[in-house]
Symmetry: D2
Subunit: 334 residues, 4 copies
Amino acid sequence: MRFAVIGAGRIGQLHASHLAHAIRGAELVAVVDVAMPAAEETAARWAAKAYPDLRSVLAQEAIDAVCIASATETHIALIEEAAAAGLHIFCEKPIDHDLAHIDRALAAVQQAGVLLQVGFNRRFDANAERVRAALLAGEIGEPYTLHLISRDPAPPTLEYLRGSGGIFLDMMIHDFDMARFLIGAEVESVFTLAGVRVDPRIGELGDLDTALVSLRFSNGVIGMIDNCRQAVYGYDQRIELFGSKGSIRTDHQYANSATLQTAAAIARDLPHHFFIERYRESYIRELEQFIAAIESGQPPPVTGMDGRIPVVLARAARLSYDENRPVNPREVDG
Amino acid sequence: MRFAVIGAGRIGQLHASHLAHAIRGAELVAVVDVAMPAAEETAARWAAKAYPDLRSVLAQEAIDAVCIASATETHIALIEEAAAAGLHIFCEKPIDHDLAHIDRALAAVQQAGVLLQVGFNRRFDANAERVRAALLAGEIGEPYTLHLISRDPAPPTLEYLRGSGGIFLDMMIHDFDMARFLIGAEVESVFTLAGVRVDPRIGELGDLDTALVSLRFSNGVIGMIDNCRQAVYGYDQRIELFGSKGSIRTDHQYANSATLQTAAAIARDLPHHFFIERYRESYIRELEQFIAAIESGQPPPVTGMDGRIPVVLARAARLSYDENRPVNPREVDG
Amino acid sequence: MRFAVIGAGRIGQLHASHLAHAIRGAELVAVVDVAMPAAEETAARWAAKAYPDLRSVLAQEAIDAVCIASATETHIALIEEAAAAGLHIFCEKPIDHDLAHIDRALAAVQQAGVLLQVGFNRRFDANAERVRAALLAGEIGEPYTLHLISRDPAPPTLEYLRGSGGIFLDMMIHDFDMARFLIGAEVESVFTLAGVRVDPRIGELGDLDTALVSLRFSNGVIGMIDNCRQAVYGYDQRIELFGSKGSIRTDHQYANSATLQTAAAIARDLPHHFFIERYRESYIRELEQFIAAIESGQPPPVTGMDGRIPVVLARAARLSYDENRPVNPREVDG
Amino acid sequence: MRFAVIGAGRIGQLHASHLAHAIRGAELVAVVDVAMPAAEETAARWAAKAYPDLRSVLAQEAIDAVCIASATETHIALIEEAAAAGLHIFCEKPIDHDLAHIDRALAAVQQAGVLLQVGFNRRFDANAERVRAALLAGEIGEPYTLHLISRDPAPPTLEYLRGSGGIFLDMMIHDFDMARFLIGAEVESVFTLAGVRVDPRIGELGDLDTALVSLRFSNGVIGMIDNCRQAVYGYDQRIELFGSKGSIRTDHQYANSATLQTAAAIARDLPHHFFIERYRESYIRELEQFIAAIESGQPPPVTGMDGRIPVVLARAARLSYDENRPVNPREVDG
């Protein structure tokens, strides 16, 4: 499976690295970035070729799939271009901030008969898989309540935030996906409490940095998502799913298991600092399963619709905040 | 300090035991219960005398204080009677379900110049004290987000539930108090998601058994309370307070620290099963501090107003559920 | 059961407190100390009477039992005196440092037909009981290997150490008892590695402050005991028993379950600092069971022989160190 | 750096996989095994070539280094052959069971001026590195006591055991190396307690399956190693290093951080089952550092002498068991 990775930023470099050496069956052929020096640096690292755009790749290379890791606003056009070329598409989240654009892209994919997988990598994390497995195996009985905590070690740059779509579309979107993945039902109501606590400049952008969103699912499960742009102790990623026969809880992942006992405290080193360290395995597994889906002709583990619904939920969460009322996601969908 | 304990049920027996032998400066003189055999059994156990009502105690014994642990609907009259007799009053939560009644009782207490402490024992638990101390000492910086989880091992009897006032007044009231205690600010908005998941007969009573309540405090902190009437693994009592410089989290308390490693799992025994084991120390400390407040002339650590406000919040939480909207507690307060 | 507590030092005060208010069926009648001010202070605290010696108590009070918590060198004479007076005897560990003396005292006890229990309180700790229960219930199968770690937060005074009998008789004696209690078999060989690491003045007394003692039991279990006079993070008391079907491990006990997450570490407060906090419950339970044994006519849970054998093992451990060879305890027993 | 991997068993396959795709700067050229089908299978997997012996590789390929992962008894001849060919050598532990053979191989390496690194992979584990770093950074002060626990999930086949050299040379050799690595001093005395508990057939081979070895280091540190061929709960790999300013302890590594709370227990899934999962990262890092040493001309992080000394200690441990006395390793060295 010959790949072009589009976007040579942090996440594009990560995917390029995995496709180049860590994923059996994958070959990294091209790295694309409008900033050619960036494309060249990553390409050189893995003995691939650098291109300024997808069109140039298509003109010179035989490839099977693209991995889209460029800026969000470029996703729709790239999906359409790749679909038209008959390429399978792995696209980073979110597909887009606009539902009409997303629908156009999904239609293009369907028409071309190619496979589209969205990059909700956390589904492939061992913790998330274990929680899901516990539910499916009946280990916790009927699910009652879900808690998702996701806190970043530090906010992104203000420049990044300006184009990010805001905390719900940029950050909590992962949790909306996780909620749907774990519960296996749709969210029928969201209610948001949020504020600007970390940095007033985030508020000046019209964005928020700290939020609690309550969720009610169609199957009666209730839950909440806790997001904050800054947890000084590192990347905080926790899940708890509580039900009639028990509860399953995940906790931090650490680089070592050492406990240091001194006159000051019984202490562990900080957990993994951010997503690159914390979710490394999941980034590999999502691409392995993308390839497996292509080879088997099965649907991908994260579909285009799985990419679309969290965008709806993110918009509903923002509306709930703006109007201080619970919002049914259908209100913001069309 | 000579005490009469009123009510010889489970919690009355606990207080009687502590006053009789575990609290320096306290003496258990009388145990009161309309069911005289119950009063006699507890009284005999601690070499105290049994009485059918407070009036009879007052007629025959010189006492300084009462510990009211009878049914909630008897609290107001007992507070008024004790206040009129110049007795200091320790009263179990909730004072009453009706705010007007509470106000009448608080007025009687104030007029009599006696001291009233409400039995929110969890404030005196080492975990709650540690979280509060972390906040006060600046260990977590500015507080952003609060999580309170309180799950009982099993629901009470339906008969008990019928007169309980419902999950918000009977169970979550502890968490409303804890939220105010930990944050040191008032709740300005509550929003409730809830359902009947544990037992449909609870729903037939018009009650709920599983709830998530979102809170917004006057100082900008946001938070949520998770209650369920049944956690099969035992009494689940957890706090997390997250802020600008860190987070403090408490977890289960166990009867031992042993971990059993077998071919099946790496496992610990279940945590303390319920409040009697889990919060034993706090029940002693709240009475010690009640006595200390009387002796020092200082206000009690949990005032009558601290007993009143959680009732307001409980009523607001129910209204939020009924109307599916965030509720400002002032809406339900007169 | 009317008690005189002999010795008003730290441990005598603890027993007096428990007998006075925490143990049903016990009454604290007298506190004895050659230093009458100390006796008076403790006696006054619990409304008991102070005496300078046991003889004076016997002359003026009707008592059923003594709790001997005076200096080790006074134990033998007190046991003989109490036995002659027909009193049941609870005696702190070690009974004595000299085996011939111990044998004399045990003979006096047997002749008088009174009950003697030795104060190996740790057997009554929830952790030790849980490990023992795991073994008896077959949860870990056949036992293979035992690890006992016991480290004090700080060494006692040099004055205390001078008369202590050394680390094996004063400190590790608890672990020798624990080893026998947990394994239910006798130690056939000890081998000692030890040194003076904490304070050279301990070495100048001819004592040691850090030791690892290997044990071979008659039933094939092997094990080791780790002692140090100073662990700066507090009282370190751990057990691991490993066997064919698993392993059970105990860990620190803490005053709270809070974890503080900051930019520096994920940390817990230090565990209980020393035995008074850590083993409080066990001190109550050992006396409860002493009383229960007297009342039931059953043998005590820690017999005179249980008090004698750890003294043999302590002497063997020292000989092993002195001669750098494994020692069979029978070598040092008469 | 072009590699031939010699030996296509479990550990050879692991190294081949890492050299083929996970280690920058490495290239897997050849896989050697006397059993050609095994060589071919592994070679095919990574697009390398299969050979029946090193001589054939040398005849047809230009390689820079060998990774010797064949049976222990073949190591010496292969080291000599590789050294004669000017190849750098990574050799699995133990180099050999015979000290004279080891000395011959080390002399050949020295004469050829090639670099030899021995495969004590655990030094490169994040836990071991963290313990070592704590000591070097002064976080635990002066080291007093070391505990190493290493238990396998299940014994190897009897056929394997027959040629293994016994528990000390085959299994505890890792711990002897770890002890030296962590403490940075040599062992001056070993004393062994051991037995056959897991499987009597292991005893029939003259081997042992359960052992506790006490160590005294030249710098005054004392320690012990606990080995067992079978821990039913999985691979148990723990370190504790205790000193004047604190203690550092490592614990199990798990595939996920989930805790399952049910009516039966508060439980985690079993830890990593065996070394392939548990130490994967360390196997990559040891080869990365081997390559870095070659490139930089620095000595390797695990030298030939580091490979030799644990063999001495293993022999001393066995002698201690046979003669039931502490043994100075010099006794068994020449």
